[in-house]
Amino acid sequence: MPSLSRPRRLLCIPFALLLVLALAADCGKEGGRLKIGEYGSLTGDKATFGTSTHHGVEMALDEANAAGGVGGMPLTVIVEDDQGRPEEAATAVNKLIVQDRVLAVLGEVASSNSLAAAPICQEHKVPMITPSSTNPAVTEVGDYIFRICFIDPFQGTVMARFARESLAYTRVAVLRDVKSDYSVGLAGFFMAEFTRQGGTITGDESYQQGDVDFKAPLTALMAGKPEALYVPGYYTEVGLIARQARELGYTGPLLGGDGWDSPKLTEIAGGALDGSFLSNHYSVEDTSPVVQNFVSSYRLRYGEAPDAMAALGYDAMRLLVSCLKQLHTEDAEALAALAGGDAAAQGAARARLRTLIAATQGFPGVTGEITLDEARNARKPAVVLEVQGGQLRYRERIGG
């Protein structure tokens, strides 16, 4: 007769586990390096977002270290791949904070991933700077979450104004990615502004990230005879959507947002996107010396022109480094605590870092001057780019 005391015996196990937990408590005293965490989509559907951002971060990192680091200490960036999936983003950030004990986190591009990670950063009081997530909800998570780019209410409005004023369209159809906070949010903001300005939304369909066949929703939208198609999604699907739209006989332009920005966009779309427009954070053709310097260094190092994600990654890292330098000037001990002090001192130092980041005014970035407002977002103008023969050509600048 199997003994019923077996389950009772299981309860003895927590005792052993308690010991394990207590004994395994590590000191985490690794002196001398300033560890920054970065999480991004290095593999998966949106892989260029993560790799581009990482290139930008890497460049800024090397520049900072070449100049002697901060407070005499070198900086390191620990990168975790989230495969483009929000649940992996949460796990990755968890690991960076709990296991690697980073002092701040950079990431991500896709708003859904940032939204998954932000509560964790906020809970552990680790500053998080997202270079490119544009959904407003991200910074609303808490006061430790920052972004250095514009937000979608602005971006949606930009495109609506462009369609209405510069292109004089009155009938636009919308095709959104229902799996992406970014896409859904942006579509909503666009539609609100476009109709406010007197335009008509002739149709509103959705698809899911990862789909390969969009003929069904496209066919439905085509029935409304739109002058333009607003597709605020990510480059992988947009490329295919453009192709299939052309195959179905659609000749008008497509309009979109910064999610289009990737070296792979025109590779996927072929010629189907020529004559289409997107709103973005910066243009490679910007003649200002800051931008051109960055573009040529990047080209030299990585063999291709930097896209907006790379530029924003670069700016985010530089901003963080600048704040760390400020912290060092104000209180060198706090900076030292960040590199390897006890938990309490680290927490206090991170709080001070947070205050410094929040006070950013007029930081000269490649993507424009960065000033953070009370909602911890940056107010910057947007550029509208036109797709022409595999390139993104500058068209006009709106807002700011």
Partner: protein, 339 residues
Amino acid sequence: MRRPFVLRAALTVGLLGLLLVLEKVFPHLINQYAARLMILSGINIMLAVSLNLINGFTGQFSLGHAGFMAIGGYTSGYFAITAGPRVLSALGATPTDPGAGAALMLVLGLLIGGGAAALAGLLIGIPTLRLRGDYLAIATLGLGEIIRVVILNIEAVGGARGLNNIPSYTSFFWVYLMVALTIVVNWNLVRSRHGRALLAVREDEVAAESLGVPTTRYKVLAFTVGAAFAGMAGSLFAHYLRYLNTNSFSFLKSFEVVIMVVLGGMGSITGSVSAAILLTLLPEFLRPIKAYRMVIYALLLVLLMLLRPQGIFGAGEPNPRALLRRLWPRRAPAPGGGS
């Protein structure tokens, strides 16, 4: 010799109390990373043991367990986000500083999550009764996916973008308590006359039916109880990760739990526990070769089926006394007189 009940109860309470004290008073003594692994292991143990009840003991091959977990997690998370502030303020606490209210919220969450999942188990159990073997497997797979897609389309819980900002209530203490509860309940259930009925259903349903065992009722019972525990696991998961996305609850997740049950041995609770822990820790240790992890998993599964389909522990629980006797057999006295 059985120790008196009072002593055993005191021991149990004492140990749990110790755990609670450690967590509340000395949190900085605990290695966060180890705690994380243990919490995730605990959740997986609950999933594996509950699935074992359905698959291993009752012989109903269910491939939709992730669906129950999803229901539990989402209902619990949604409740915490919407009704949480009101409940907490009634106690004089706020969402950002819940104090003792956190425990109450978690218990409520577990009840709601487990209850909702149990309901789903009931609803799923009934129509799938007529199906056998492969068909049941595919039907449960389909139902699990339907649950996922339905949740995907409910805007109130975040739709395709996921449910965010779920309050953090899970701690190692709670996970441990729930794991112990899961194991005790399942263990006792299986060794009761109800458990024997379940085994009868597994062995030969037609024979059982003709002998008067209400097979229908027991199959539904298995689904309902199994689903309830999966739902509670989902609730703990939600309040730990703080973010839920339907991607985490696809049939791939169901397969993961199935692998745990099969590896441990279908019909062995010890097996499910061991396999759950093993398969939670293994990926962490394999992180350096992360790219190969899933390939190794898959290979493991295939080899396991080819070489030892009954899993590690087979269909029973390990009996330490028998094992020891086999390792150190007591020599029988020599026949006749000694020399």
